[in-house]
């Protein structure tokens, strides 16, 4: 579909002529996000600057039945912001003000387009911590994080984005502006719409302002590395650590292929002969961190670790965490198409799931590397193939289908933190069942009677 000239003129009247683009070259960069393969060209890209403009655009879109896809930085990995049915991509990056940091109330108020790391830095400047820590934090926006309920490296101890959203300002597809939640930790007036909007992937409303909870900045953080002969050994160590009553801030793993790729990029002197690497870290008062890391080290050794080392300083600790965040792009150097998933299982089944993934990869003859968040059972099986090899791409997708089935069989899920978007919609019913799928559609219809907001995704 293309938009008629009258509609374009009306959009320009709302946000200004400079902030509406419809030419082929202008909309092309918004045809995709960080998800490989998925691509669909929008008819227009619109950059609003305030909530009222978002409301006016949505009212117009509902009236004219034009799809609208809200977008932050476009760093999601589930094709949540690919405009599958064309229409308008609504980019919120101009709304990038940190409105308030309140140390007294331990909260921050930001516009949706503020980059996550900008919020974290603004909080840190006042001695506060914004805990959610997604891998793409320097790129992603807070609005995008809330819309996808982004996870990250600190999930085990601190939870994920949803645990920090106190309130939202959201625009409904019909143009009403609602304020859910607010500045309160305790507030049970009505259905918890804040939670419902969190992770709704831009299908129920457009988030324009967020109030998020902050924590006092921990006095110190430290990180250590344990090498194992196999991922199964590492999985046993994770069980032992949690069994010992320790909930560390970070508990990440890389398999042998990932260790090789990360080492090639980051040159950290990682051991290349190990079958698995466990990266563990904690924060808090210095003596507590020292004691916890010491105990984690002992548990790793008892579980058969080949070697355990602690970072000698903060720089080394940061370098290790940065390297872990770069695991995906570093792996991408092995081929030209990097397919990544994030199947998640209950923590005690981690080792069993890793074995299943290996078996599935062998059966479908695809190279698969696995890294992820060991502490919360969140795995990232990653397949790197040649983007011109159609057969290999097909085999990879067959393999991922089996990985999802295996995860569900183990009481797990098809996606732990990346989201459903267009990429995993075909697998969603297997996870939720027909009744929940129907309920999702009814919820979607209640918010969005015309079905204009991010169609072809959740609730469609």
């Amino acid at each position: 579909m293309t938009l008629d000239r009258k509609l374009v003129a009306e959009l320009k009247a709302i946000v200004g002529a400079d902030h509406v683009r419809t030419e082929a070259g202008d909309v092309e960069p918004y045809a995709r996000d960080a998800t490989p393969v998925f691509r669909a060209v929008p008819d227009a890209v619109v950059w609003p600057a305030e909530t009222e403009q978002v409301a006016a655009v949505l009212r117009l879109a509902t009236e004219r039945r034009v799809p609208v896809v809200p977008r932050g930085a476009g760093s999601n990995l589930c094709a949540a912001t690919v405009p599958e049915r064309g229409g308008i991509v609504l980019v919120l990056t101009r709304m990038d003000r940190v409105l308030e940091i309140s140390p007294g109330e331990l909260l921050a108020r930001v516009e949706a387009g503020v980059p996550t790391s900008v919020l974290a830095d603004a909080a840190a400047a006042q001695g506060l911590l914004y805990a959610p820590d997604p891998g793409s934090r320097t790129v992603s926006t807070v609005g995008g994080n809330v819309a996808t309920c982004a996870g990250g490296l600190r999930g085990l101890k601190y939870g994920v984005t949803r645990n920090y959203v106190l309130g939202t300002t959201a625009v409904l597809p019909t143009g009403e502006v609602i304020h859910t939640g607010g500045r309160l930790w305790k507030d049970v007036a009505g259905y918890d719409l804040t939670r419902l909007l969190t992770g709704s992937e831009g299908t129920l409303g457009v988030l324009t302002e967020l109030t998020v909870a902050l924590l006092p900045m921990p006095a110190t953080t430290n990180t250590g590395v344990a090498y194992f002969g196999s991922l199964a050994d590492a999985g046993r160590a994770v069980d032992a650590i949690i069994g010992d009553g320790i909930v560390p801030a970070t508990l990440e793993f890389l398999d042998a292929k990932c260790i090789g790729a990360v080492e090639e990029y980051a040159n950290l002197g990682l051991r290349l002969d190990a079958g698995a690497l466990l990266l563990f870290g904690d924060d808090g008062p210095e003596d507590v961190v020292d004691r916890n890391l010491g105990r984690i080290g002992e548990q790793c050794t008892d579980s058969g670790a080949l070697e355990v080392t602690l970072a000698e300083n903060i720089a080394r600790s940061e370098a290790l965490l940065t390297a872990r965040r770069c695991a995906l792009p570093a792996l991408s150097r092995l081929g030209t198409l990097t397919l990544l998933e994030d199947a998640t299982v209950p923590r005690p089944r981690l080792a069993a799931m890793v074995d299943r993934i290996d078996e599935i990869a062998d059966r479908h003859e695809v190279p698969m590397a696995t890294f992820g968040h060991a502490g919360d059972g969140n795995l990232h099986p990653t397949c790197v193939v040649d983007q011109r090899d159609e057969a290999a791409i097909h085999r990879a997708h067959e393999a991922f289908g089996d990985v999802f089935a295996a995860a569900i069989e183990m009481d797990g899920t098809i996606t732990g933190e990346h989201g459903v978007g267009a990429a995993k919609l075909p697998y969603l019913e297997a996870r939720l069942g027909a009744d929940q799928m129907a309920l999702l559609r009814r919820i979607k219809a209640a918010f969005d009677p015309a079905g204009i907001l991010n169609p072809g995704k959740l609730g469609s």
Binding site: A17, D18, H19, R21, E23, A24, G25, D26, E28, P29, Y30, A31, R32, D33, A34, P36, V37, F38, W47, A73, G74, S75, E84, V91, T93, R94, D96, P115, S117, S136, T138, V139, Y265, C326, L328, P329, A330, S332, R333, T336, L337, T338, Q387, R388, D389, E390, I393, H394, H397, G401, A422, L425, P426, G456
Partner: protein, 400 residues
């Protein structure tokens, strides 16, 4: 319906404009967005490295052609500063992609005339030599292990830089008959000519080539090999020469900031060396943004003067707010950009080349000082004409 069916589509073959191995590297993760100066001012994906690579792919597959206004606009709006490269975990060589893009996009009549004119001058070695004679740059034909590259325009614009180097490195050879390194060509759609000029210069200059231009260093190293070429600060660090003396103002050590050369920092990863040298002779003041592009960007300040100033303005504010006496540059383009625009502001901050700073510390020619008269901005018609030409693709692509 989308889903698995769509997912199985493989990438079709392209038109051969780009090396597929370079283009395939990008996984669109977006880690480059925060590093890009043009994305920072525009907040438009099309003006980001990831977005430009998406446009290159559309050009390669034929979805868009070279007459597309956005393609024309972005191929010139990009500063070519390569700040996206060090932050890219996937190892995309954006600078090489940009060269391939401009080779195609700016071929023949499509090349911006001012760039064409500069390239024609730079190719005339005899002309460069004459310019150097008039401006009295350093010269000595005595054979040596290392040679100083004079730069095509630096020898005419800032002849004092090569003289300062001679006081720092008395044994260096400075053959007067040397041409342009070709970086100018490589960045303006003539990459093959750029490589040819670099190879010729490599034959003219014996031994290790020392240069006072960060941009030239990166280009030469790319063609002749990393070990043949050393930027001045790198050379001084490698040879272990300790800077002598200090730069003082009214009895105190001068406060000195730096403006990195983009290709020196992002291409050759040299940025600690000049900072160490400054710290040895003055009080080094880190300034927010001293590592990002000043908007000179080779021919950029001539081709897109308005955008160039828009990139530069907040940086000049930062240097003035930091209360420094000098900003050190390590590339003639940056020197010209900072020197001219600080003077126009009537600023108390002076831009000086690293060689000038070190030579002054050792008792050589003193550095300029004090607040200057504000130079009224002269409106040149040519500039408006250029802008109109450049803007046919529309600078209005910005949403901010």
């Amino acid at each position: 319906m989308t889903g698995p069916q769509q997912q199985h589509m493989a990438t079709p073959p392209g038109r051969g404009i780009f090396d597929p191995a370079l283009l395939d590297r990008c996984i669109s993760c977006g880690f480059c967005l925060p590093a890009c100066p043009t994305y920072a001012v525009s907040k438009n994906e099309a003006s980001s490295p990831r977005g430009r690579i998406t446009l290159m792919r559309a050009l390669e597959t034929g979805r868009l052609d070279e007459d597309d206004p956005r393609l024309r606009e972005e191929s010139s709006f990009c500063l070519g500063c390569r700040a996206c490269e060090p932050v890219c975990p996937a190892g995309v060589q954006y600078g090489d992609l940009l060269e391939e893009w401009r080779d195609h996009q700016w071929r023949g009549r499509r090349r911006p005339p001012p760039a064409q004119a500069l390239m024609m001058i730079a190719e005339r070695t005899a002309l460069l030599r004459m310019m150097g004679l008039v401006r009295r740059h350093a010269r000595t034909a005595a054979p040596a292990q290392t040679s100083l590259m004079l730069g095509c325009f630096e020898r005419g614009l800032f002849p004092g830089v090569s003289r300062a180097v001679r006081t720092l490195l008395p044994d260096i050879a400075v053959p007067p008959h040397q041409g342009c390194c070709g970086a100018l060509h490589a960045h303006n759609g003539e990459s093959e000519k750029g490589r040819e000029l670099a190879r010729t210069l490599g034959e003219t200059l014996p031994g290790t080539i020392v240069t006072t231009a960060g941009g030239c260093a990166a280009h030469l190293a790319g063609v002749l090999g990393r070990d043949r070429v050393q930027e001045l600060s790198e050379h001084l660090a490698k040879t272990g020469a300790t800077p002598v003396g200090e730069v003082k103002i009214e009895g105190r050590r001068a406060r000195v900031a730096i403006q990195d050369s983009c290709h020196l920092r992002n291409g050759l990863r040299v940025f600690a060396e000049p900072r160490a040298l400054i710290s040895a002779v003055a009080d080094f003041v880190p300034v927010q943004g001293d590592d990002s592009c000043c908007g000179s960007a080779g021919t950029y300040s001539l081709l897109r003067p308005r955008d160039s100033k828009r990139i530069l303005a907040p940086k000049l504010d930062a240097y003035e707010a930091a209360g420094v006496d000098y900003v050190v540059t390590v590339n003639p383009g940056c020197q010209r950009q900072l020197h001219g625009n600080l003077r126009r502001r009537g600023s108390a901050v002076h831009a000086v080349h690293l060689a000038d700073l070190l030579a002054a510390a050792a008792g050589g020619r003193p550095l300029p000082r004090g607040r200057r008269w504000r130079v009224p901005q002269v409106r040149v018609n040519l500039r408006r004409r250029l802008r109109r030409r450049g803007a046919s693709g529309g600078t209005a692509g910005w949403s901010a």
